[in-house]
């Protein structure tokens, strides 16, 4: 049926020729320049970053298969103790998957993005379908945001020294959401009795959508982050440089 295919293709191309999608805004380039004028000049990727990027795009395309292989591997652990060493490089954490990457860690990361007050806490609750959990140590958040897919609630606070603390909350039962590539150490901790992981060095953060086909935005370099679970939610806190300060906030979450 190649002819039918060709005629359908021809028809689609003819349709394309007739679709008028309008001209771009006249002042587009000016508006873009205005917005990026304070941004740092983008650097070319280093060879190491390039290797990580390749590994990541490979993973992005095939993460389901990789996860399946990992689950199979974990299931086989009791039978095959020597595999443990390999698997220690990987661990999953309710919605968070950590991969350890070789190579030097980035030395610094920008502060977490500040949320805008797009919705009230009550509206956010309806959107995400769970009760937002607030840390008494920080009071009312100055920014409340819900991700476009309504899965992640982001709360931000600006502190008086100009720093920003950000806590993302999402339902721990969802598919892996935050794919982190970590170079360097991760540390286990406890938030009260709940298990937590502390990423003490800046790392890249890629948000995966549930369909696994693409991420929401270009990957973002994040600073030290504490990730923990509590009563069905996974929470991640950014903006504190040392673990005790992050833990103090995490433990005040109601």
């Amino acid at each position: 049926m190649p002819e039918a295919t060709n005629s359908m293709e021809a028809e689609l191309r003819a349709l394309a020729a007739e679709l008028d999608t309008g001209a771009p805004a006249a002042d587009l380039a000016g508006a873009v320049l205005l917005r990026i004028r304070t941004e740092p000049v983008p650097a070319a990727p280093s060879a190491a970053a390039e290797r990580v990027r390749r590994a990541r795009s490979w993973l992005r395309a095939r993460w389901r298969a990789v996860l399946a292989a990992l689950v199979a591997l974990l299931a086989g652990l009791s039978l095959a103790p020597p595999v443990r060493a390999t698997v220690a490089e990987w661990f999953g954490f309710h919605g968070v998957v950590v991969t350890q990457q070789p190579g030097p860690a980035p030395t610094s990361a920008p502060p977490p993005p500040v949320g805008t007050r797009q919705v009230t806490l009550a509206q956010a609750r309806v959107l995400v379908g769970f009760q937002p959990r607030l840390p008494s140590a920080l009071g009312a958040p100055t920014g409340v945001e819900v991700s476009a897919d309504r899965r992640v609630l982001s709360l931000t606070w600006g502190d008086d020294r100009g720093g920003v603390v950000r806590i993302d909350q999402f339902n721990g039962e969802v598919e892996p959401r935050f794919w982190k590539s970590v170079r360097g150490e991760v540390q286990f901790a406890d938030v009260r009795l709940d298990p937590a992981i502390w990423f003490g060095v800046p790392h890249e953060l890629v948000v995966l959508l549930p369909d696994g086909t693409h991420h929401r935005e270009p990957s973002r370099l994040v600073g030290p982050t504490l990730v923990w679970q509590s009563r069905g939610l996974t929470m991640r806190l950014e903006g504190k440089q040392i673990l005790p300060e992050a833990l103090a906030i995490a433990e005040s979450v109601g």
Partner: protein, 182 residues
């Protein structure tokens, strides 16, 4: 690209101007609707911020369009959530096709326009991955490898989904014609 990385703002402005039309077309056809201009602007700003991850020697266009496409789909989703539902689809089709009536023979023009509207409606009725792949390949006129980059799929997936999508479109249109003829 070297000039942009050297801090030359005009070089980026040039890239923006060169790719603005296809970026806008991508935004509109992937459902950004009234937000298309915002989506395009956001896309270029995000692309600039992400230039550190852009590989030298790679093609800028599909890389940019992937960012714009993701923005457009997010905008579409939040518009649907805000209540601006798909009822705009029919208006949008008429709007997009307002040039289809330019044929010399008015009767011919009506027929042709009907056929195009039918095709657009059938396209809209496809499952999302199929609609995306047809939109990229034919409406945006991207090649297979560009489509793979924009959608973030392996090339084999682009090929197989495109094949299935065309099959479904043909079946849809055939059914529609039978209904009209009866």
């Amino acid at each position: 690209m070297a000039r942009v990385r050297g801090g030359d703002a005009d070089a980026y402005a040039e890239l923006v101007r060169r790719h603005a039309p296809i970026a806008r077309r991508t935004a509109v056809l992937l459902g950004a609707g009234a937000d298309a201009d915002d989506v395009v602007q956001e896309g270029f700003v995000k692309a600039y911020r992400a230039l550190g991850t852009f590989r030298d020697g790679a093609e800028f266009r599909p890389w940019l369009l992937r960012i714009v496409a993701n923005e457009a789909r997010n905008a579409h989703r939040s518009a649907v959530r805000r209540g601006a539902r798909e009822e705009n689809a029919a208006v949008l089709d008429a709007d997009l096709l307002h040039r289809a009536g330019d044929a010399a023979d008015p009767a011919q023009a009506v027929l042709l326009a009907d056929r195009r509207v039918g095709l657009l409606a059938a396209l809209r009725g496809l499952p999302e991955p199929h609609r995306l792949v047809v939109t990229c390949r034919y409406l945006l006129d991207l090649d297979e490898s560009e489509t793979a980059t924009v959608l973030g799929w392996p090339r084999g997936t682009v090929k197989s989904r495109l094949h299935r999508a065309l099959g479904r479109l043909r079946a849809e249109l055939r059914t529609a014609e039978e209904v009209t003829d009866a």
